[in-house]
């Protein structure tokens, strides 16, 4: 019982995921700065940002709109992110075995943060937030199908194993899924879904600073915004971790393999960072077309390839 609590709250739960996510966010910002000839923030900057918002800044509530929904949605978003992270990390580190069908639950939990951003934005009663919410909604509709297809393909590739543990075991036998042709296609589709889920360029149109001034989050301040920032840090850890688990062979923490695990995570975040620094933002209709036609096609090709054992 106490052990479970420790797992959920400290390692590999809430605290660990937040801290690791914050460091990954620093890494992302530092690499961005180097790409752009800037110096970049100090190592602890994500923590300064978070605690300043949490403890120092005043929370201002919008006069119109539903305050309860507005304030509760970041809490639900944080919970969703946290639970999905725990469900991925426990079996991935071999601490607990997970339950049958936990891949499906993780898929739903990963959707919750994006949904709550949207609901919170709609509760804010601001026209710019409403535009942001409508864009977020369209974006969710477009990438979720691709994401679901990717997960289905991974399950198919692991001989219909629907638990995280079995997928890792299957990769232990056959080698990481990304080593095959279909695995490469799935990897590409997963990375773009991840980019959209994280709301980074080229799919940051729900925030779009220069168009709708951070759209969905425009009315958030203080503690409520701190929770959103924390959710974002956590997602920056959880999604690359999920990618590692499903396609890159999972985590091993014994001896030299720990180094590989860390390098895998950093490599995935580096890829995200480079994509976001070498592309302009696309329009929402272009993003929808990109996912509906091209990414879905890519995954379907991958599924056909899996059928032929490639």
């Amino acid at each position: 019982m106490y052990k479970d609590l420790l797992y959920y709250l400290i390692f590999p739960g809430f605290i660990f995921i937040s801290v690791a996510g914050a460091f990954l966010s620093w890494f992302d910002r530092k690499i961005t700065a180097w790409v752009q000839f800037r110096k970049g923030p100090p190592l602890l900057q994500p923590f300064y940002d978070f605690f300043k918002l949490l403890l120092v800044k005043e929370t201002i509530l919008p006069a119109s709109g539903s305050r309860l929904t507005f304030l509760m949605s970041p809490v639900f978003g944080l919970t969703g992110a946290c639970l999905s992270g725990i469900l991925i990390m426990l079996p991935a580190l071999g601490l607990k075995s997970g339950f049958s069908g936990d891949m499906i639950v993780i898929f739903y939990m990963l959707t919750i943060p994006s949904l709550t951003y949207m609901i919170g934005a709609l509760a804010a009663g601001n026209p710019l937030a409403a535009v942001g919410a409508s864009r977020e909604m369209k974006l969710i509709i477009s990438y979720e199908l691709t994401f679901l297809l990717v997960i289905a393909a991974v399950i198919l590739k692991a001989d219909l194993a629907v638990t995280v543990q079995d997928i890792i075991l299957a990769q232990g036998e056959k080698g990481p899924f990304v080593g095959s042709l279909s695995g490469i296609l799935l990897f590409i589709a997963f990375v773009f879904c991840m980019q959209a889920k994280l709301g980074l360029v080229p799919f940051d149109m729900a925030e779009a600073e220069t168009e709708i001034t951070h759209g969905s989050f425009i009315e958030y301040s203080g503690t409520a915004y701190a929770l959103i920032r924390l959710t974002k840090y956590m997602m920056l850890f959880i999604l690359p971790a999920f990618l590692c688990v499903t396609l890159l062979g999972g985590f091993r923490t014994d001896g030299i393999h720990l180094l590989w695990t860390v390098l895998k995570m950093i490599g995935v975040v580096l890829l995200i960072t480079l994509i976001r620094n070498t592309n302009p933002r696309v329009r929402i209709d272009q993003a929808m077309r990109f996912f509906f036609i091209w990414m879905n096609l890519l995954v379907i090709v991958a599924i056909v390839l899996i059928y032929f054992g490639l």
């Binding site: 961005t32 790409v35 752009q36 000839f37 800037r38 026209p127 710019l128 409403a130 535009v131 409508s134 864009r135 360029v201 080229p202 940051d204 149109m205 779009a208 600073e209 220069t210 168009e211 709708i212 001034t213 620094n277 070498t278 592309n279 302009p280 933002r281 696309v282 329009r283 929402i284 209709d285 272009q286």
Partner: protein, 396 residues
């Protein structure tokens, strides 16, 4: 039912205060209205209280980015009134300053356009490449911006011949950077997707709205004051006016990028010209400005700058009228933004490179029936004094 999406008065899209109201249905912009006037400084009126030499420093501050185009136009205007023909060395120096400014202004815009599209890497890179141009300004004029170089009948500082190789060196480096940028921008498929066919201004629209500068040239309207009303050294060097046909945002990017190559070429030719002229021959003494009227035009990076000055033989202008290019270019938003999505409308707004502080005007309200002024300057002063009194009373 349409909702209003405000862009401004404070918005990350534009650094200056202005308000665009986009009347949207869903994401589609159905109508656009704009309010400027947050930034009015009364420069035309101020100018009437300054001597001709001081006016140069004033008009330099009309625009922070193209800070030499206004002195340029004002100098052309005053020289027309006084009937002065400036020396060739002055002409070359003026053109060098004007073209360097065009390069730095276009680079600044290109970076901002990248930022507006969410492409911050382009923003940072382009602004880094702009730095050497500002350093060059510092070397030539002593200032990175607001160069204080112009005066009636000449320029204030010479470009000594021994500084010319250094300028040529910077230009060579700049050309390499430009090649890289042109390659990066012109071949990027995502930039194409975001800018081609967006914010299209047809040739007719441009003529109807009297747009100027790169905004007009990108729609196939071949106008350029440097060629159409020659001044400074532009008739002495060979160059061509860049135009494009499409009229969309991409065409405007293209025109500005290619114009920078022309500017580099003009500067190089001017530097060759400078070597032939006698050093220090940079001004014609002017004793007195006769009574009269004159107009001066100059091609700023954003388009034609127009100055009108009326003099009465004293050393103050009696009337000084300035028209900045953004004044006409902003009106084209009615054509370019309606029917676009919000994402496209914002980049269309930025594509004309608007400069609001240049274009602010004082407006009088007239009664349509009687033609009577409802609010004039002194009444406004009285109103503001009354308000100050009220605040003071509250505070004491």
């Amino acid at each position: 039912m349409s909702k209003i999406i405000p862009i401004g008065p404070y918005h990350p899209l534009q650094e200056e205060p202005e308000l665009f109201k986009l009347y949207c249905e869903g994401e589609i912009v159905k109508d656009i209205k704009w309010e400027t006037g947050y930034n009015h400084r009364g420069i035309e009126k101020l100018s009437e209280s300054k001597t001709f030499d001081q006016v140069f420093f004033l008009v330099e501050r009309v625009c922070g980015i193209c800070s030499t185009s206004h002195p340029f136009a004002f100098a052309n205007c005053m020289e027309e009134i006084a009937g002065i023909e400036i020396t060739n060395r002055t002409k070359y120096i003026r053109s060098v300053i004007g073209e360097l400014e065009r390069i730095h202004s276009h680079l600044l815009w290109l970076g901002l356009a990248g930022h507006f599209l969410g492409y911050n890497t382009v923003f940072m890179w382009v602004w880094k490449y702009r730095e050497p141009v500002l350093d060059l300004f510092e070397m030539i004029t002593g200032n990175r911006n607001s160069y204080a170089m112009f005066k009636i009948g000449g320029v204030r500082r010479d470009i000594p011949n021994d500084k010319i190789p250094a300028i040529q060196e910077v230009l060579r480096g700049l050309k390499k950077k430009l090649d890289m940028l042109v390659g990066a921008v012109m071949d990027d498929p995502v930039i194409h997707a975001r800018t081609k066919g967006v914010g299209v201004l047809t040739r007719e629209d441009v003529i109807d709205y009297a747009a100027v500068g790169p905004t007009a040239r990108a729609s196939g309207v071949d106008i350029d004051v440097r060629r159409d009303d020659p001044y400074a050294a532009y008739p002495l060097v060979s160059w061509k006016v860049i135009t494009a046909k499409e009229g969309d945002v991409f065409a405007k990017v293209e025109v500005r990028l290619l114009e920078m190559y022309e500017s580099v070429s003009i500067i190089e030719q001017c530097l060759e010209g400078l070597k032939k002229e006698k050093e220090g021959d940079i001004e014609i003494p002017v004793d007195e400005i006769p009574a009269g009227m004159g107009t001066g035009r100059a091609e700023a990076p954003r388009g034609e700058v127009f100055h009108f000055v009326m003099t009465d033989g004293s050393n103050f202008p009696v009337r000084h009228k300035i028209r900045a290019p953004s004044y006409v270019n902003i009106a084209t938003f009615k054509k370019s933004c309606i029917g676009q999505t919000i994402s496209d409308a914002t980049i269309s707004l930025a594509a004309v490179d608007p400069c609001y502080c240049c274009t602010e005007r004082m407006a009088y309200a007239y009664d349509a029936a009687t033609g009577k002024k409802l609010l004039n300057g002194s009444e406004l002063v009285r109103l503001s004094q009354a308000k100050t009194d009220e605040i003071r009373k509250k505070m004491i």
